[in-house]
């Protein structure tokens, strides 16, 4: 087990290295001068003078060749320093501290919504395969799948905030503020999970050991929720792990629509502003979260599916 984790960490580090190199090269290729863009933003849209731009480039080391900048950056990162935002001179670590949790909170809540909706729906759909309930929940899942996030967000806001007045339209902090964004984010995921779970339930229901369970005299409910579901969740867990990227993409739009703080909106702003230290720091954090999530998923796997031994095999 420990050996496995060590191995995963090593390969995770390789991934992080790759990600950071990729980020750096992309910044190199992206048009748009960070100095000009940042200064312009700070000046409320006015154009900065050449001298200001030069000074900015100088103080932020932008005149060094990209590889040198990269090495400097990596050296700093090793010491836990992700640099400071060009824009506000705030440490990137501070920004991440402020924004990581809201996004994680949104992601977890979205996932929770998704699971709460998807598990019963997927199970019912599979158990009643070909029946009306199945068709109904499949169509529902597909509808959920096909609604653009922002559209759904506005619709929910219209109904639950403006018409019913039960939830706030925007903001952050209380549980009430989390509901609509989480539902919006969760819907798409719920749809994906429902569909996956359905097909994987159907597969498991065909397994011999389900017949064994029935032949013991177990109630169908126990056969379904104990023997089938646990096995059917295995492939679902993988996808949920891989969906992390999807979650972040979704979070960007949701954070914008519901005015929540978070990595998504921070990242978008930083990219548009060519605020490279923030971009690099965020991408690194996102990659770390990705690597960690996937490690967690694999460890969860170990608990859900004892056949998988973490000691052996590379995949």
């Amino acid at each position: 087990m420990w050996k496995y984790i060590v191995r995963r960490i090593i390969s995770g580090l390789a991934v992080l290295l790759g990600v950071s190199v990729l980020t750096f090269s992309l910044t190199f290729f992206t048009p748009g001068d960070p100095a000009r863009t940042i200064l312009r933003k700070q000046m409320g849209g006015r154009s900065p003078s050449q001298a200001a731009i030069e000074r900015f480039r100088e103080t932020n080391g932008l005149n060094d060749p990209i590889p040198v900048q990269y090495v400097n950056w990596v050296t700093d990162v090793m010491q836990g320093d992700l640099g400071v935002s060009y824009h506000s001179e705030t440490a990137v670590t501070t920004l991440i501290q402020q924004n990581l949790m809201p996004t994680v909170e949104l992601a977890v809540a979205g996932l929770a919504v998704a699971l709460v909706v998807a598990i019963p729906t997927g199970v019912i759909s599979a158990v009643h395969k070909g029946g009306r309930l199945d068709y109904g929940s499949q169509v529902l899942a597909l509808l959920g799948l096909s609604m653009p996030n922002f559209w759904l967000g506005y619709l929910l806001m219209l109904v639950f905030a403006v018409q019913l007045g039960v939830l706030p339209t925007h903001g952050f902090g209380t549980f009430g503020h989390l509901v609509l964004p989480a539902v919006t984010l969760g819907t798409g995921m719920a749809a994906v999970i429902t569909r996956l779970l359905r097909s994987s339930m159907l597969e498991v229901l065909d397994e011999e050991y389900i017949q064994t369970a029935r032949s013991k005299g177990l109630k169908e409910r126990i056969v379904v929720y104990k023997h089938t579901l646990r096995n059917a969740l295995i492939p679902v867990i993988t996808i949920v792990g891989l969906q992390f990227g999807y979650l972040l993409n979704g979070a960007v739009i949701i954070e914008m629509v519901f005015q929540r703080p978070g990595l998504g909106s921070l990242l978008i702003d930083a990219i548009f502003a060519r605020n490279y230290p923030v971009v690099q720091g965020l991408v690194l954090i996102v990659a770390v979260v990705f690597v960690v999530t996937n490690l967690l998923v694999d460890i969860t796997y170990r608990y859900v599916d004892p056949r998988i031994s973490l000691g052996g095999g590379s995949e």
Partner: protein
């Protein structure tokens, strides 16, 4: 039970030389005068268990000895049956002969020439060894028609379309299928028909050796009979040499000339089929034979000798004689000393007490 215990014949000393000498003698003794087609000399194959980069760097690799130190030869026109429990290394042995695996140690020769893995073998050598697997429907691409499947080896050998067609017609007749099967897919065939297709494919390039890995195990008794009949017939007609792997002892007994018994990757006993069935010279062989259900309605399972315990893991095989953990005759020597090949009749056995086991008239007596 009175067993003569022969003194420890060649303890220590130049065991390898002695082995070679025995091999040579056996090769002549054990069979007709025809020349060996397949020869294995001290062949071993082990698989690395953990081979991630990190493990390799840390040097903690474990390996599984699927086949260890096997010396064997198969002669032209002969059928050598290989039997043994699941996991004893039978398929690995077959794969070594076909070249799917390359041995970690030892040499395999075909027609007297040492050969490597399939990727190193010249085309004509590949064409000379045909393979039939257990499950025909999985050994034929489910998305290929029967015709395409049979034509594949021919095309690889560079046959022209016309020649192919002619040859396929011949082959169909040989395996008793008709033209209208050509357009079907394997899932549209019965198990027996599919196995015929895979036999046709295996003999398409006119090989002299056919490696058969459990060719009838998945089949019903009647279908099994017809496939065995077919195999016997084409062996006669085409003068084929068979390496027949099976755990179905009755099938092996029916068609094999000689039988090799494997256990945890090692050969326990090799001998002419009839002799081996009549007078097994290894306690493991005896146990195996005893376990075959008896068709005599008077027999009951209570009378049957049942071998206790389970096959040990090849990752960490027992010391000395690998069978000693389950052998009712095991003594201290068995635990410590690897037995040599002891010639018994026309075959040999790797049991310290081979001769006494073979001499024992009432087989089951040893087990009371």
């Amino acid at each position: 039970m009175s067993v003569d215990r022969p003194g420890n014949a060649t303890a220590g000393g130049s065991a390898a030389e002695a082995d070679d000498a025995t091999d040579a003698r056996l090769n002549e003794a054990g069979s007709t005068a025809r020349e060996p087609v397949i020869e294995l000399e001290h062949v071993s194959k082990s698989f690395a268990m953990n081979d991630s980069l990190l493990d390799r760097l840390l040097g903690n690799t474990t390996s599984l000895a699927a086949v260890s130190n096997v010396s064997l030869s198969v002669h032209r026109g002969e059928t050598l049956g290989v039997v043994g429990e699941s996991g004893s290394g039978k398929s690995t042995l077959a794969n070594l002969v076909t070249g799917l695996y390359t041995p970690t140690e030892g040499v395999i020769s075909l027609d007297g020439t040492p050969v490597g893995g399939a990727t190193d073998r010249p085309a004509d050598l590949l064409a000379d060894v045909g393979v039939v697997f257990q499950n025909a429907s999985s050994s034929i691409n489910p998305r290929m028609t029967v015709g395409d499947a049979i034509a594949e080896p021919l095309i690889t050998q560079g046959w022209s379309a016309d020649d192919c067609e002619e040859r396929i017609a011949e082959l169909l007749e040989l395996v008793e299928l008709s033209e209208h099967h050509l357009d079907r897919y394997t899932h549209e065939l019965s198990g027996g028909q599919a196995q015929r297709v895979s036999i046709a494919r295996a003999i398409a390039t006119e090989p002299s050796v056919l490696v058969l890995d459990e060719p009838v195990s998945a089949l019903d008794v009647s279908v099994k009979g017809s496939i065995l009949n077919l195999l016997m017939r084409i062996q006669d007609e085409l003068d084929l040499t068979y390496l027949l792997i099976s755990h179905d002892l009755s099938a092996v007994k029916h068609v094999a000339d000689r039988i090799a018994v494997m256990y945890v990757g090692e050969l326990m006993e090799v001998g002419p089929a009839e002799e081996l069935f009549e007078r097994p010279a290894h306690p493991y062989t005896e146990a195996l034979l005893a376990a075959i259900p008896n068709v005599d309605p008077a027999s009951t399972i209570e009378d049957t000798f049942v071998l206790e315990g389970e096959v040990p893991s090849p990752v960490d095989p027992p010391s000395g004689c690998v069978f000693h953990t389950r052998c009712p005759m095991a003594e201290e020597t068995c635990r410590t000393t690897v037995p040599d090949q002891i010639e018994v009749g026309d075959g040999w056995s790797r049991c310290h007490f081979a001769e006494s086991v073979a001499d024992d008239e009432e087989v089951t007596d040893a087990w009371q």
